[in-house]
């Protein structure tokens, strides 16, 4: 019997057609996603100083300090 | 010498039996070449001189001191295999104690190495000699030529012995060798001799002279031992694809062991009783060696991932 689809991936990440720029904004980077998940914050709630407005590791660290 | 030839032959025969029984994955045989091998190696001082044998040189390594047990442990790839602990295929001889340098599969690589080993003796002014062996096809590659040239330039104490057994797997001599192997030496400024590779005394004599020359600092010699490969190239080869049974049978009449036995019997060195006794003794040794090897443990898989680098 097939198990429920895993969360990671699901029905594809629907991301194949997205652009790098959109993804940078939305998903930032692995370390930022990790920190955001660890602290229960939304990446979109942080202002980003990285390329194209990306939330960088420094940005989220600063955000978490405040 | 007769004993060593018989030892090599009986061990080899046992190897084929183990292969047919499915116990040995791979056999590469010396049958037919025992005279060339034993005759040459008998001139060396094990542990002093060096040997770079090729995979077929069971007769050489056994003359220098490897035993049927060593051979069969290697055949079956057991941990106690002195060549490699079961890492290499059979025929990839190695012994620090006997100065048998770890053999490889790529044909011809041994020659430049042998030249270097000989050069070290010369640098230190010692009288050590290096015997480097290979098949006739090993003379087709550049490594042989480069080594011959260095040996000739610097009068290196190296004896090149080519066991020309007529075939390189399926390729006959006429498609392998231009001119003559023995004849090549002159171009490098040192002697080259062709000998009947199935006549152990002839090879012994040629090698004796070559080794003596080298010890005296007079430089290299090339010996072409003309012989014949009595079995297929290896247990992976079906030689019916490229040669006739008649040709093999014709050479069987010139079997080096039978021939030497006849000589020894005729000259009263050996009588039939001693011959039989010797054969029984050898067979018993081989039998014991086989039982030992068949029951010997393999190395653990984890050992196969280790020992890649020598400790700094």
């Amino acid at each position: 019997a097939a198990e429920a689809r895993t969360a990671a991936g699901g029905d594809g990440n629907g991301r194949a057609s997205a652009s790098a720029e959109e993804l940078r904004l939305r998903r930032s980077s692995p370390v930022v996603r990790r920190l955001a998940a660890e602290h229960g914050v939304e990446i979109s709630s942080i202002s980003g100083t990285g390329t194209g407005g990306r939330v960088t590791k420094k940005d989220i660290e600063v955000f978490l300090e405040e | 010498m007769y004993r060593y030839m018989l030892l090599a032959r009986r061990t080899d025969e046992r190897s084929w039996i183990l292969n047919r029984q499915g116990k040995a994955a791979f056999v590469i045989s010396c049958q037919g070449q025992e005279a060339a091998q034993v005759g040459a190696a008998y001139n060396l001082r094990p542990g002093h001189d060096y040997v770079y044998p090729y995979y077929r040189d069971h007769g050489i390594v056994m003359t220098l001191g490897m035993t049927p047990r060593d051979e069969l442990l290697a055949l079956l790839g057991r941990r106690e295999d002195p060549n490699s602990g079961g890492r290499q295929m059979p025929g990839h001889f190695s012994s620090r104690e006997l100065n048998i340098v770890t053999a490889s599969a790529p044909i011809g690589v041994q020659y430049p190495q042998a030249a270097g080993t000989a050069l070290a003796f010369k640098m230190r002014g010692e009288d050590g000699v290096v015997l480097a062996c290979g098949g006739e096809a090993s003379t087709s590659g550049g490594d042989w030529h480069e080594a011959m040239n260095l040996a000739g330039i610097h009068d290196l104490p190296v004896v090149f012995m080519i066991e020309n057994n007529v075939y390189a797997i399926s390729v006959p001599e006429k498609f392998q060798v231009a001119g003559s192997i023995a004849g090549r030496a002159e171009g490098y400024g040192f002697p080259g001799v062709a000998v009947d590779g199935n006549d152990v005394l002839a090879v012994y004599e040629a090698a004796r002279e070559a080794v003596a020359r080298a010890r005296r600092g007079e430089g290299p010699t090339l010996i072409e031992a003309r012989t014949y490969r009595m079995t297929a190239h290896s247990s992976d080869d079906d030689d019916r694809r490229y040669r006739e049974r008649e040709e093999i049978e014709a050479w069987r009449l010139k079997d080096p062991i039978t021939r030497f036995e006849k000589y020894l019997l005729e000259h009263g060195v050996l009588d039939e009783f001693q011959r039989d006794e010797l054969d029984e003794e050898v067979k018993a040794e081989v039998k014991e060696a086989s039982a030992y090897a068949e029951n010997a443990p393999f190395a653990d898989p984890d050992e196969g991932f280790a020992g890649v680098y020598a400790e700094v």
């Binding site: - | 890492r87 797997i169 190395a299």
Partner: protein, 328 residues
């Protein structure tokens, strides 16, 4: 269509090209009279003669060098290196000569040679009949390196390689010769050398593989689909150099998770280049680390059966890695 083994497919590809083009010739050790140590060239000398199916002396640099020279003067040689482990003596003729002929002569000369060689671990092969040599050649502009795994691809890719005006190193996974069988079209067809093959589409992870391990990957993909509902996209590079970056990246971006699987010694293998490609150009799409499975960093592969068997990563290990990455 007919079911053929990898070996038969390669044999047929060779024979058909030789019938179609009289300049195509085969050369190497034991390829003629004996039909090759693996029988790949069986029957060819009978059909095409001793000149076109030619037993060379035991000299790999000569085999490749003379193939280049033959190609200069109107022939189209398919040179066989008996085992990839014995390709090193020919290294200079391949990387400094064949690969550079066209560029260095500003297009006046080219070296349309194909070099075939069997690679990969087999029982009893030990240290010199088991190696994976592709990484040696995958940093050489001017050379093409291909390693199609399955029969249909192999036949078509071999034809492309032979027809290609550039030198092509055509690697054949020897353990797959008889083990892998597949449907092969009867008609003449060629598989382009610059396209990776997507064997199976999926959305959850991308596994990039070649050689017999690709077969393990394909089986594992079916298994985890049935058992866990995980859909794997299985991609085969076909060309190891230059890589089809477009197909690889498209898949990596689609799934967000990439695993590269091969039996070559891991460190310095071609899988490193594949991973690097993904890590740089599909970064924003990554949902998980770019992972690799490879052979241990020890010589391929020790002779004794228990040691040989431990060398190539097992099918179980592959499946576990796929699950693990899918679940990351």
């Amino acid at each position: 269509m007919a079911t053929k083994s990898l070996l038969q497919a390669i044999h047929d590809g060779l024979a058909e090209e030789m019938r179609a083009d009289e300049t195509v010739m085969v050369m190497g050790e034991d390829v003629g009279r004996a039909g090759g140590v693996f029988r790949v060239t069986q029957g060819l000398q009978e059909e095409f003669g001793e000149a076109r199916v030619f037993d060379t002396p035991l000299a790999e640099s000569l085999i490749v060098g003379s193939a280049i020279g033959l190609s200069v003067n109107g022939m189209r040689p398919v040179a066989e290196i008996q085992f990839a482990d014995f390709i090193p003596p020919a290294f200079d003729q391949i990387v400094n000569e064949a690969a550079l002929f066209y560029y260095r002569s500003n297009g006046a000369y080219n070296a349309p040679i194909t070099i075939r060689a069997p690679y990969g671990v087999v029982p009893g092969g030990a240290l010199f009949h088991s190696q994976s040599v592709e990484a040696y050649f995958c940093n050489t502009p001017g050379l093409k390196v291909v390693a199609p795994t399955f029969p249909a691809d192999a036949k078509g890719a071999l034809k492309s390689a032979i027809r290609d005006p550039n030198p092509v190193l055509f690697l054949e996974h020897k353990k797959s010769y008889r083990l892998l069988k597949g449907e092969v079209p009867d008609e003449d067809y060629a598989v382009p050398l610059d396209r990776a093959r997507v064997h199976r589409e999926g959305t959850d992870l991308t596994v990039i593989s070649y050689g017999l391990m690709l077969n393990d990957v394909s089986r594992a993909a079916e298994k985890i689909s049935v058992e866990h509902g995980i859909e794997t996209e299985v991609v085969e590079p076909i060309s190891l150099y230059p890589l089809d970056k477009e197909t690889i990246l498209r898949s990596a971006k689609k799934t967000g998770k990439t695993l590269v699987v091969s039996e070559a010694n891991l460190e310095g293998s071609v899988s490193g280049e594949i991973s690097a490609l993904v890590a740089e150009h599909a970064f924003e799409w990554l949902d998980g680390p770019v992972r690799r499975i490879g052979g241990p960093n020890s010589p391929a592969a020790p002779f004794a059966k228990p040691l040989t068997d431990a060398f190539v990563p097992s099918a179980e290990k592959v499946e576990a890695a796929m699950l693990d990455l899918a679940r990351y």
